[in-house]
């Protein structure tokens, strides 16, 4: 089954896919353009893998890691399907990263790889945008690169684990304005899904609803304001996102200070 969280007609709903349409939990059937798509799981603890595809590590001129390179994201960075992501004016290189997202289904501690899939609820698609201009060599990649508001689209669907025969053999593709720019396969991960669950749960508790973004293959190119970026994983879904500029976001501390100053005159 494919599950979603959507806003429709003034409320937030759990929903499922039904014959290409969306059925809300109250039974109403609506079209996918009528809803606002939310992340299919409310993010809490979210792990992200860096350099988890050998070809991407090479592309970024890194040797592949011997231990998973993991960082965390906060809830502020996630947005749903058809959302907008901001490209700051001062950025010269902003790239997408199409990633298979693994959603944990139940509490996991010290899980062995042979049992790891028992802890998976399902899969979705994530786009882990990066802003290379902001990279610094401390706890790299840091949150200024990876945890900006609305910079991690995720969705549209959470696909039940039982619907995916082999999550380690899925094609990932990214299209910018309809043109294919990234293509890879989950079989090329350095640390596969069972390895990641075994690794993380070896030192901390994973909870239901936690998400692991498993890294991206090669093929990252710069994206500009106005671009439509579609990240797609075979059998999981097609996640669309549009890049917008600073002018969409009118909040500016300096302007606010000025407004406050004027109001006090």
């Amino acid at each position: 089954m494919r599950r979603a969280r959507v806003a429709y007609s003034g409320a937030i709903h759990e929903a499922i896919e039904r014959n290409g349409q969306i059925q809300l939990n109250d039974g109403r059937i609506v079209s996918e353009k009528e809803v606002v798509w939310l992340p299919p799981v409310e993010p809490r603890t979210v792990f992200v893998l860096g350099l988890n595809y050998a070809d991407h590590a090479k592309e970024l001129s890194f040797t592949a890691p011997t231990e998973p390179l993991v960082f965390l994201k906060g809830p502020n960075t996630f947005i749903g399907h058809r959302g907008q992501t901001r490209r700051p004016n001062d950025v010269t290189f902003m790239h997408y990263e199409c990633e298979l997202a693994v959603v944990i289904g139940r509490g996991a501690r010290k899980v062995k790889r042979d049992n790891a899939y028992e802890y998976v609820a399902g899969y979705t698609v994530a786009n882990d945008y990066a802003f290379r201009d902001y990279l610094e060599n401390y706890y790299r990649p840091n949150l200024r690169v990876k945890n900006r508001d609305g910079c991690t689209p995720i969705g549209p669907w959470l696909v039940d684990a039982s619907d995916i025969d082999d999550p380690m053999n899925l094609t990932l593709r990214t299209y910018v304005n309809g043109k294919l720019t990234q293509e890879g396969n989950t079989k090329d991960m350095i640390f596969d899904i069972p390895a990641l669950i075994e690794y993380l749960s070896s030192f901390m508790t994973l909870n239901a609803g936690d998400i692991i973004l498993t890294g991206t293959p090669k093929g990252s190119v710069d994206t500009k304001v106005g671009d439509e970026v579609v990240t797609e994983i075979e059998g999981i879904g097609r996640l669309a996102n549009t890049i917008v500029g600073d002018d969409t976001f009118t909040k500016d501390a300096a302007k606010e200070n000025w407004a406050k100053h004027l109001s006090q005159l």
């Binding site: 906060g74 706890y139 901390m204 909870n207 300096a254």
Partner: protein
């Protein structure tokens, strides 16, 4: 007396009460209770963000290494990390010592609790977004390199005791002038002050919210002073911060805990 918010274990309600920071007492239903008589949960519910190298001494300790590989240059923007929800713990709860680890770093941190969504706030308004302040022990497995994110070293279960309470913002005269001390088995092991922060509390809020929103209930740790004291199994650790009180926890080997608590 200061106004504070806290959470008693097993109770869903966040209490709002008067506390005496020096006497370590809470007033409930007209009676005074010592904090040692109460069981606390972490008094916050949002995301906890830590900041690396925000004490002048901590950056200084790295010395010229900041100009050498892999760092190559000193940090420019605030360096953040996340303490995920499995790390949250309350006053009096054990800090699990993982198998095969001898000592843990006690990271004494002032926690700034956010009161309303803060996005690109200005310096003069930054403190308006603060609900209050709390004490956090940002526990880590010692690690020298800060090149790669330290999830393995910082995100273990129970590695982020918080509390016992959140003291309301206006009860704290100046968050940039608070003495921070760590005691292990009642012996003072560290003393520093938030006056030594590279980015003051308001500056930190400005620089962080420049690229990400801090939401109501989120906690921004202002940093951990240099030379974090090490604690081993059985040690009783107390982090004290002026005007906020103290947060006390004991290091217990993971193997002696059941579900994170000592039965």
């Amino acid at each position: 007396m200061s106004k504070a918010i806290f959470k008693l274990r097993g109770k869903h309600l966040i209490e709002e009460a008067n506390v005496n920071v020096l006497k370590r007492t809470v007033e409930l239903d007209g009676k005074q209770y010592g904090t040692e008589m109460l069981s606390f949960d972490a008094p916050v519910s949002g995301t906890v963000y830590g900041v690396l190298l925000n004490y002048k001494g901590a950056l200084h300790t790295l010395g010229d290494a900041v100009n050498q590989p892999p760092y190559k240059e000193p940090p420019k923007a605030p360096i953040l990390y996340i303490k995920p929800v499995n790390t949250y713990s309350g006053n009096g709860m054990p800090i699990p010592l993982p198998e095969g680890v001898e000592e843990l770093e006690m990271g004494a941190a002032l926690g700034v609790v956010i009161g309303k969504p803060a996005t690109r706030v200005s310096t003069s308004q930054a403190l308006e977004y603060v609900a209050g302040y709390t004490i956090v022990n940002d526990v880590s497995i010692p690690h020298d390199s800060v090149y790669r994110p330290a999830v393995n070293q910082k995100a273990r279960d129970g590695f982020c005791p918080i509390g016992p309470w959140v003291i309301e913002r206006d009860a704290v005269a100046n968050p940039d002038q608070l003495r921070v001390r760590v005691f292990i088995n009642d012996e003072m092991k560290q003393e520093n002050t938030t006056a030594n922060l590279i980015r003051s509390v308001s500056r930190l809020i400005v620089d962080v919210t420049d690229f990400m929103t801090l939401n109501k209930g989120d906690v921004l740790l202002v940093g951990v002073p240099e030379k974090a004291p090490l604690a081993k199994a059985g040690d009783r650790v107390r982090v004290e911060i002026d005007e906020l009180g103290c947060l006390e926890n004991t290091i217990v080997p993971e193997s002696e805990l059941t579900g994170g608590v000592a039965l």
